[in-house]
């Protein structure tokens, strides 16, 4: 994969580049400020980009803004946001366009290289990779909309794990179910949510978005 790394702290940027290259992927560009990030995103159109939220020149949310602006230009441009803290507010903004190919994780998720690369690949393929804390908060608050009310508890559990970005196999492992059982749950869930696309990734993304958007509207 061709990957862009946007991070203002040299140590972290360097470490991230080394990790990605060690996993056999190519870093096509690096950026250390918000405007640079936007420029690189649009110029290189990487397969997936790793972007920090807080960056120069103002040390506010420049990275996130660059990512959102780039995705307005190029809908679905895969971007994985890495941050020192996760905010539901930002998660909603990232997911708002409904085109998938977004991730939002804590920086320490790079500690587990395999899972990190896995998340990168999922986002590159148009899926999602959301921090479990965001999902947990969504689960504990808000009132699900009427269409979600029709889901069983088990289906909702599956949906929450799907929102984290897990595959059917991984969901099955987490819930001690067989992969085919998970498949059955997802199919019945898609039916209840009225999602009829053929392609599985797309359906998964739309189900997750329906789930995220159903909780207290932003």
């Amino acid at each position: 994969m061709r990957i862009l790394v946007a991070e203002d702290l040299y140590l972290l940027r360097d470490g991230m580049v080394r990790l990605i290259e060690a996993c056999g992927h190519e870093v096509v560009a690096t950026a250390s400020t918000g405007p640079e990030t936007l420029q690189a995103l649009l110029a290189f159109r990487p397969d997936v980009s790793v972007v920090d939220v807080r960056m120069p020149p103002n040390q506010t949310d420049e990275g996130l803004r660059a990512a959102l602006a780039a995705r307005r230009e190029v809908p679905g441009l895969p971007i994985l946001i890495l941050s020192q803290h996760v905010e539901q507010l930002y998660a909603r903004e990232l997911l708002a366009d409904g085109s998938g190919g977004v991730g939002y994780l804590l920086k320490e998720s790079v500690f587990d290289a395999d899972q990190f690369v896995d998340a990168l690949e999922r986002v590159a393929a148009g899926g999602t990779a959301m921090d479990p804390a965001v999902i947990a908060k969504l689960l504990s608050t808000g009132s699900p909309s009427r269409s979600l009310d029709r889901l069983t508890d088990r289906e909702r559990e599956v949906l929450a794990l799907m929102a984290e970005g897990l595959s059917n196999q991984a969901v099955g492992r987490r819930l001690f179910l067989s992969e085919s059982a998970v498949g059955k749950y997802t199919t019945s869930m898609f039916g209840k949510l009225g999602i009829t696309d053929d392609e599985d990734t797309n359906r998964r993304v739309r189900a997750v978005l329906a789930y995220l958007n159903s909780t207290t509207s932003p």
Binding site: Q59, Q84, H85, E87, Q88, L89, L106, T141, T216, P218
Partner: protein, 417 residues
């Protein structure tokens, strides 16, 4: 019937105003009468009337002014602050003597007595009170005396048989009837004009207030810094030491026992994750990242999303443009605390945060659907909140009847744009 009631109450009020305002002049009249009775030609009779005038005026000035304040507050709702000096604390020194802010005394009783006299007689408010008792008889007192005097004239005149006296009595009755509902009303403007604390007194009060606030802030700041230091010392710092230890041990074991080394590395990784989570919590408590990244409104939105309540944020107009960072932070933590209270103590399920700007203040309102009963107690959470807001001249008002809902309004004055 209502007309009669209004007239009676107006007449009563006029009499009360006349009595209060004319109390001091009546001592003057008494003094003059005393002087005449003793004979003005005899110089030995002079000191007693003079003493009566001085003691009557000075001694009655403050009670009269207090009575006027009470009457005005009760009848019109206008509160006129007294602005009198308050006595400071009386403390016992290590020498055994008592210090009252002015002098050393052997006993506590002496110290208190001495202090009471000094505070009373050195108060700049005395001059203002004297001025008021000089002005009031000729303004509010004179006007308020019209109905009782008119009534007295009527009673006396109508009993006489002469036509002139009867006419005067009838005139007195008409004047008394017409003036009674209005005659006492001059008291309010006169009191408002002459009884207000002078700018110097207001300033002195403000200085006291600021001194107390500065002490509060200093204490709070020191406590906060100590908390941060302790958290870092026991948390992140200790974890980093443990991390270094694990890595050093792993390095030693690498060749001899790779399996144990790998376990240690995993442990180190878990330690790093844990200390990051701890640091994140700590940072959130000092200055929430979303606040510096997005400003107050979005930070409140993030807060609402994170809250266990179903909370919504309603922004009216250009509410929070260009606020100073310390004010933003204070408002953020205030709302966070109010939301926590709503969830924890009021058992609310919904909350609404409204943020807007009126003429001169930024107004943040937090309303929940909980069971109410919240009150501002000295030393309680809401009191602490109020003190922290007071640093910016902000105020906190809480209305929370039993059974709910609770409504808290924070106002911070700011230059209107």
């Amino acid at each position: 019937m209502r007309l009669v009631g209004a007239w009676v109450s107006g007449f009563g009020r006029s009499c009360a105003v006349a009595a209060v305002c004319l109390a001091v002049p009546s001592t003057w009249v008494a003094a003059v009468a005393l002087g005449i009775w003793w004979g003005a030609a005899n110089p030995w009779s002079w000191p007693a009337p003079v003493l009566l005038v001085v003691v009557g005026t000075v001694g009655l000035a403050r009670p009269v002014c207090q009575a006027v304040r009470r009457l005005v507050a009760r009848w019109t709702g206008t509160r006129i602050p007294g602005g009198y000096r308050e006595a400071g604390p009386v403390t016992r020194l290590s020498t055994g003597y008592w210090w009252n802010g002015f002098s050393y005394e052997r006993t506590r009783r002496d110290a208190l007595m001495d202090q009471r006299w000094r505070v009373r007689w050195r108060d700049p408010a005395n001059v203002r009170d004297l001025r008021f008792v000089a002005v009031a008889p000729f303004t509010a007192g004179l006007v308020a005396a019209v109905p009782p005097v008119g009534l007295a004239l009527a009673v006396l005149g109508l009993n006489e048989s002469q036509l002139f006296a009867r006419l005067a009595g009838a005139l007195g009755l008409v004047v008394a009837l017409a003036a009674a509902p209005f005659a006492w009303r001059l008291l309010e403007p006169v009191a408002a004009r002459f009884l207000r604390p002078s700018p110097a007194m207001a300033l002195a009060e403000r200085v006291d207030e600021l001194t107390a606030q500065r002490a509060d802030v200093t204490v709070a700041q020191a406590a906060e810094i100590r908390r941060i230091e302790r958290d870092l010392h026991d948390g992140a710092q200790a974890r980093l030491v443990a991390l270094g230890l694990s890595l050093a041990t792993a390095q030693k074991l690498m060749d001899r026992d790779p399996e144990a080394a790998r376990a240690l590395m995993r442990e180190a990784q878990a330690g790093a994750t844990a200390s990051l989570a701890e640091l994140r919590e700590l940072i959130r408590g000092i200055s929430p990242p979303v606040l510096s990244e997005r400003g107050l409104v979005d930070a409140l939105r993030a807060l609402a999303l994170d809250s266990p309540l179903e909370a919504e944020v309603d922004v009216r107009g250009e509410a929070a443009a260009e606020l100073e960072a310390p004010i933003e932070s204070a408002l953020y933590f205030a709302v966070a605390e109010l939301l926590t209270n709503a969830a924890k103590h009021a058992h609310a399920t919904h909350a609404r945060i409204t943020i807007g700007r009126d003429m001169a203040a930024l107004v943040v309102e937090v309303e929940d659907d909980g069971r109410g009963g919240a009150e501002v107690r000295a030393g309680g959470g809401l009191d602490g909140l109020r003190r922290r807001l007071a640093v910016f001249d902000g105020t906190l008002e809480v209305t929370s009847p039993r059974g709910g809902p609770t409504r808290a309004i924070i106002m911070v004055p700011c230059e209107s744009l």
